[in-house]
Symmetry: D2
Subunit: 414 residues, 4 copies
């Protein structure tokens, strides 16, 4: 175990020699906010098999309990995204759900409609050629708009499984127009002060065309809709090689970045632990976020605090709560490293065209081991210094295994 | 509808002017053999949803009925691959299953063990760190070896879901050695005169490493094992951009191409109708196959007739039997086009380095509309000239819908 | 050789039975217009080697001669894109260049500035951190704006090599803003009635970030600029798997598709003969174009006739003029096939959600051999029935080889 | 600047608490050996432009001078790969070249034939349909075999640009057989005690098929040839998503990994600074190498010391010598991190199937900042603690700029 006081002292000196304001960094780290998804605590799987995990949550109360436990361990995960109808209360009492969450120490975050799991959606929801099925999907999203104030949520998070599997199956333009019409109908129902986030995805479950395949589509539509519509970036929803941090930079500069679904992938939408496949890419994304937030350019600066940092991952084989803690910690580490980038100095060498020195300054921040800094933050927040060790020592895993047993698979994922 | 006699006469003249022996082509087309999979007649889906199709098969008898119907429509699909335990008879009477198939007009083809759907296989089967689970998987494959003679099958088709999701999760070398040991144990149990086909897959359901990720691995192991081990190529199991026809050419030249899982994909392992995404690629693959089969070089020439042409697709939204017929027909069309490539002439211009003329000769064959030729083949075989039209007119779809109803999802896919 | 009258008669009957108005199709095919690039007639290569081709053009007159020869062979390639300064007249007399072209039977098409080949552009042009170099690039583009009326061109075609090779090398947001500023400065200098087309490219020659990496960026900026700015789609400038026809459909529906750079690729920006790698994809792209052009929806319908269909390929090993003819012919074939898609019938089965029948109707058009139809078009236009055969018989290749010899490599490519 | 003694003391304690034998790690780091390429000191570029760098080497003496300067700065780059004919002495006196190198403090490493830059190789070298051109290529490789003893090299490093650009252009099987024949002819001419390394590449400069497209092909042929033939892995020569460390693990386990071409890429064969795009992947590759070298399994253990670690990168915009130093340092850092993986403990948790703990143990090593350890190594070796700072302070860059000026572009790259 790290000798934290000594290690922090050394790191503090080192960072100050780089002219980093360490106490300001610590304050920003304390305010970080990562949202975990209710469905991440339930069983999930691949199309081949969903392995049941002992103790996995099946009820929304259990999911909220688990999310609250994660928040207790990390201190920066105070909200939980919900999925309707997976998290629909039997009695429809959303206020009670909201109160239950708050009693556990967390709040409800984004509301996620599900318009892909019913048989009617075989050919899509908003893009379906059948107007009645479009309306059915719209009704459900409207219902979610009504749920939002009940759970004190101001974010409607929209992902669509819509697309086609075969060339010619449907009109690409026709589907585009149906989407534009239906998204407009959603926009008009948004609660005051709330936002709708439009998620894009390269492919899956549609295998020829996806109705919102890329950021350009989400952006174009959010522009048509108005200021309450923004883009949601899921890290696993791009073609191979796409420079995600550049998309982030573009959207922030336009005030159109609404939120993230954090996860990681090597191949397709693998939905693995955040930062487990490419931690450097995660750092580069945070680097853009931090640069915009700390800068003065508008609308980037003012819209930065509203970005919803949501985890969306699918734990197939590695448990549920522990990997969620890892994901939050990896976000924290990446954020911390982005906060120690010497931005003024970097801007100067960039302006000079000094490629190698600019690259070195950026990667020096990445290379720095910030564990002692993070432990300092945790100490000041009254959080366990080593969240994973603390979780394992807590007995929580044994408790839920024994109380909940090996439940049937439930839930879904995006 | 095509005026077949006139159209065929015109095409026949055109092909003869290209010095193609049309009657020889027709004879080869009559001998084409495509195997359909029992699981392709059952419901399947993506990780998000499996849409139930009215009339989808749930029992093996129903699957065999459907396969027999496909064969009646196309005349070149006389065998059916089975999956154990999905197709395991309740009474264990495989001879009866075999007889039932034959009574419907089809035979059992490849036997496919399933070592990925049980809870024990969370960390893999042959690659599992736990020796007891490796043995469990081995026992199941040995059981399949014993089933083979009972169903008159001489092909054991092996696909493994094995791999890891996180760097460090397991030893890559350790898994390699476990696989080599267990594959050897399978090889030693193979029935005389039979073959084991080793399938590779780029990724999914494992998202960091897959134990048999590419043809090189399958090939290396089939070489170590001996002549009864060969490689199985699934068209959806490659990285983007991989030149599959070159892999086919290499393996045939070494006598190590054992069979195919035909399907098509635009993104990952999409398992769509064969030839629906890239019909030109399918033609180029058949071009290599036909070149090797018609050539005199060994071992390619002699091993060509043993290649198992198996369809492995997953119909998520488009029905079951009709798309299977499409797949068979697309294979037939690609094969026909490969048979009208003027090989002698092509070899000459290739030797001269005449790039454009060589490319033109090959693509001229692809561009040729061979429908009239295929209808001639069907006529001579006593098969419906237009299999899709005939299937739709047959009333079979209505019959199974009414008899079987909307069954629960069953089965799996690779 | 095809018995054209009989073959056309058969095809005509077949198409009429599918309710296609064949004479209308023929009229549309006569009006097709493909632009060839002056630089495509000069030598080019990969970073490893540029193989000199005997007879390759080195002067702009030679390039115009070659383009005129292509047009004589195909009848549908009446314009030539030029690249400044590669095609800069020594005496600056652009009117004379224009007249020379017209005397050969072709016209000047798009004007392409070159802001990537000078040493100053090592860190970019419009995105360069140095304001003086930005201005230098801007001056050159303004110069091109002034050239446009002199050569009777109304299209300014903009491609930028700008980007970075290392994370941190430059500010992603900074580069975005520089581009927006400089593109605006170009827009304000556009000649009346002309358009500027903004090309995007996934990567190369920049290997970490490209300043205009995707259609979304081009689209966003063309929207900010105004109606004279549109997007240029180069078929080789996407990540693997991207559905290009969907981008085409989206842009047309917004009136923002300005033009194409046609070529083909299997891997990166391979710049091969159009349709040589994936002819089906080329058909699907034309299918969207034709659907929009024949439809009544605006702005798609009215902007369709203004789309600039430009070839941009790089012949490394296969000659220059013959592969250019192949590319034009492949575009003609794809366009013809898109014209025989039964759109009304297709729309009906799409509305019904009949996946397989819709896919069949579309692919039936693709499968149809349209050679007899194209020969009918050529006959009516007074063009050689078989352009490749006619070119080879013309003696042109021998003539330029003997006149021009083996010239040094010149020119570039995009 | 790091307070090295204190920082090392802290790190030493931390590593010892993880039961790492730090002094053994230091000894291994002192023996690391990275080879730099002579052509990396000359100008190079993309197909669009080669930007000349002031002071870039043009003669082999200059390249050896630069390589020696790199070695002085890093202490672990004692050898230089040469390219024939780029490094051919005018008087053919290779012994003198060898002595010159040694006088500068470096030795000649791998010999790289060039069989792609002559006009004759338009259709390939060993795969060319023309037997005379095959022989020409073979003669050149044989010449390189004769050069090897003269420069005291025991590694022949073979990369081929061979392939085709269009389907049908040549026979895929024919090219395979020509390669097998010609590689055999090379093998028979290998100097005693030397090895030939067969490099594969996914694509470029060939765009339809590449004659050695993947590790499977290199491996299959090295197996046919015999123990002196091994595989060379270039990090930029794979399809997107390929798990390179798994290929490394496989080849080592078979004793068939001969060497590396280190560089990094985000898209295609971008040839950037090693570790600049994905430092985690570089660590994972070293992790497999170190695991095999430290293990006792054969042939992996015994073949490990013979692996040739060669850099092959192409500096387009960032200078020459400084980026080469970065690459060496990044290899050093990755190797150091791989040496502090707690292998015994990792093997235990892997055996237990403890996914998260195994992943944590591995990534903890990656996360550790090893700069203080590396400085300790450098101090003990008498090398500058901060090689980049030392290089910049050395005046070498100014010296070569003034002496050599802005030379014309020369050289090539792989």
């Amino acid at each position: 175990m790290l000798n934290q006081p000594v290690a922090f002292s050394i790191l503090n000196d080192e960072l100050e020699s780089r002219r980093i304001d360490v106490s300001a960094v610590i304050e920003m780290l304390k305010k970080q906010h990562i949202e975990t998804p209710s469905w991440g605590y339930a069983n999930s799987g691949t199309r081949f098999k969903a392995f049941a995990w002992p103790g996995a949550a099946t009820t929304t109360r259990q999911k909220l309990d688990d999310a609250a436990m994660v928040h207790k361990m990390v201190g920066i995960a105070p909200t939980v995204a919900i999925h309707i109808p997976w998290d629909q209360p039997e009695d429809g009492d959303y206020e009670a759900m909201c109160q239950y969450a708050e009693a556990q120490g967390v709040r409800i975050g984004a509301v996620n409609p599900n318009i892909f799991q019913d048989d009617e959606y075989r050919l899509g929801s908003f893009g379906n050629p059948d107007a009645a099925i479009q309306q059915r999907a719209l009704d459900h999203v409207w219902e979610c708009c009504e749920i939002m104030p009940k759970v004190k949520s101001d974010v409607l998070s929209l992902w669509f499984a819509d697309g086609t599997n075969y060339a010619g199956q449907d009109s690409l333009v026709g589907r585009k127009r149906r989407f534009e019409k239906n998204l407009k109908a959603v926009y008009e129902h948004l609660p005051t002060g709330s936002r709708m986030l439009i998620e894009y995805k390269f492919f899956e479950p549609a295998f020829y065309s996806t109705d919102i395949p890329d950021w350009g589509t989400s952006y174009a539509w959010s522009l048509k809709l108005g200021p309450q519509a923004q883009v949601l970036v899921d890290l696993g929803h791009h073609a191979q090689g796409v420079n995600i941090e550049q998309i982030v930079a573009f959207l922030m500069d336009e005030g159109k970045l609404g939120g993230f679904h954090f996860n990681n992938r090597k191949y397709a939408d693998d939905d693995l632990i955040v930062g487990s496949v490419n931690p450097y890419e995660l750092f580069l994304i945070y680097n853009e976020l931090t640069g915009a937030a700390l800068g003065s350019a508008e609308p980037a600066h003012s819209s930065a605090p509203n970005i919803a940092f949501m985890i969306d991952q699918c734990h197939n084989v590695e448990g549920k709560i522990a990997p969620m803690i890892y994901s939050v910690l990896n976000c924290q580490e990446a954020y911390a490293k982005s906060l120690i980038v010497p931005r003024q100095q970097l801007a100067e060498v960039q302006a000079e065209g000094n490629i190698l020195e600019a690259h070195r300054l950026l990667t020096q921040a990445y290379r720095t081991d910030v564990e002692a800094l993070l432990q300092q933050v945790r100490q000041e927040m009254g959080i366990p210094l080593e969240p994973i060790v603390a979780y394992e020592a807590s007995g929580y895993e044994e408790k839920i295994r024994s109380e909940r047993g090996l439940a049937a698979t439930s839930g879904g994922f995006q």
